[in-house]
Symmetry: C2
Subunit: 333 residues, 2 copies
Amino acid sequence: MSVSLRDVAAKAQVSVGTVSNVLNRPDIVSAITLERVQKTIKDLGFVPNAFARHLRAGFSRTLGLIVPDVANPFFTEVARGVEDAASKRGYAVFLCNSDESANKEEKYINVLIQQQVRGILITPSNRDPVHLEALLDRGIAVTLLDRETKSRTQCSVSVDDVRGGEIAIEYLVSLGHTEIAWVCGPESIPQVSDRGSGVANAAAAAGISISTIRVPLMNSIKGEQVVGEILSLPKLPTAIFCANDIVALGVMKGLLDQGVRIPEQISLIGYDDIAFAPSAAIPLTSIAQPAYQLGVASAELIISECEEGDAHAHQQIRFQPKLVIRASTSKPS
Amino acid sequence: MSVSLRDVAAKAQVSVGTVSNVLNRPDIVSAITLERVQKTIKDLGFVPNAFARHLRAGFSRTLGLIVPDVANPFFTEVARGVEDAASKRGYAVFLCNSDESANKEEKYINVLIQQQVRGILITPSNRDPVHLEALLDRGIAVTLLDRETKSRTQCSVSVDDVRGGEIAIEYLVSLGHTEIAWVCGPESIPQVSDRGSGVANAAAAAGISISTIRVPLMNSIKGEQVVGEILSLPKLPTAIFCANDIVALGVMKGLLDQGVRIPEQISLIGYDDIAFAPSAAIPLTSIAQPAYQLGVASAELIISECEEGDAHAHQQIRFQPKLVIRASTSKPS
DNA sequence: CTATTTCATTGAACCGATTCAGTTGTTATA
DNA sequence: TATAACAACTGAATCGGTTCAATGAAATAG
């Protein structure tokens, strides 16, 4: 069935040790043997068994990536970054989807331990992930993704969500808006609460008060449904900031259906700058996050931790979000 | 560092064989020993090393899934289906992104061989994937995903794209449209060419001719840009069928920007029924594919192939697409 | 011409879980 | 009482690469 290193050794008339050396330290093998063995490897179609290799080595060249929602374009971009960076360094990646459930998260962590992954990149569902500490005892590196650690025992790569919230509000204020609504999801989602803090900071700095409207789920249907509530606020807002683009697009549709003109009557700004934002009915102003780079940075960080060992210093990398201005925002009339 | 089965055996004062039996055939172990060993396993935090287990067994409980584009909502849904079904049967899944490149595809196949996956689910980039045959010799099951096989040596799970094209055109014809434009991508993409065949079939059956407009990339920007070309066709179409929803949303934006009313002046229909379709500026009529079920079915199929061995009969499962009618289509005026 | 170093190669031990022939102890059958 | 049948458990062999002390051969030094 499968060709083993021993088969190659027999066919090439050398010892198993030599074949192993051809694979791992070709420089110490004589040119003539090297060539003969390499030819045999090709002829037999030999592919080394990663299990056996890493069983002996005690560690693998595999990473685990656990995200709360692969369907979210932000995380697919992150995943692409992780994959690209990892495969450049010869690592394979298990992509797991926790669906925001701590249960599924724990289950996947267990699977990844069984698979002997070298490191785990994770966006934990709850704020204080105690169970991750156990991984370090097992010699599995852990890097937090899109979350910041207080503990200094691990690396993290995140985007400054507080600043993102500030940027959005500061921009609206700079345009002259004073009646602003903040449409967000459940406070339990760290991104939501951080962006909310940014909103509060900027509002305080500008000396204005901002109405908060909460949707139970961050999808476009809920965004559309919440428009009625927005339009019946005691003071009609001249600008709306949504916690993500999907919700913002729902709100946009709801407003347009009600005959509200964007941005003339109400300005609208989203978060994430998803690929579809420029092609929305009204091209959407949004806060962009460097999702791909986030993935690349986290993969490189964890791989360096795996390979440098004790020489590795834990780092907390924090990216800055960026305002992308399109047609959905303007001065209030 | 890591706790091995031998450590558990020593601590619990039994042989390694007994500990193994506790894990794999608990019924043949006496109740008292069973309990003692299980307690020890918990105390030591022992997690079996999948490498060693499968090195011995000769096969793993891991699958590989290779898709052309994880960012495409269709494939993320498929992936969710695969993951859910696989993890229900105790299998882990490597998710790989080939980016439509045969090169990357080959590279990932190699990685998956090294990881000793039991089976590979793949949407191959080219129509005739010769290199996949080699996997069968290695004892790795292969199932085609969203592609059909002519060869009877493997399973496949697909959606009838030809029928999908027919359904869309038949529906438009039934509304009374006779001037229809078909906006599609490169002919090299199998989905595009199959849907195109369906369009041609239905057009022939209805005795009408349909203008084909091709975009080089299937994204919404290209969709928006192609609107000029559509509006300058010798005969202005009363309906447009797009090869996927993303392109359709671009076309929708382009039309609305030009002041064209949808569906009064032009009806619009997409393909895939992505989550955002109902929330588009004009809710989009689309052809839905059972993406999640596609994933579940393919995972179950390949796992049964892995476990039944020779008893397994290769199957070609083909799902039917479904028309979802929303506000973007109506009778021509 | 021997002594020492260098270079290429060998082959057995090892990683950790599984498997199975074999051992021990207990209970049912003739 | 002898014997068969069975249950519970043992421990060495095994899977396929990797590693490293040991070996042999050739090159260089004394």
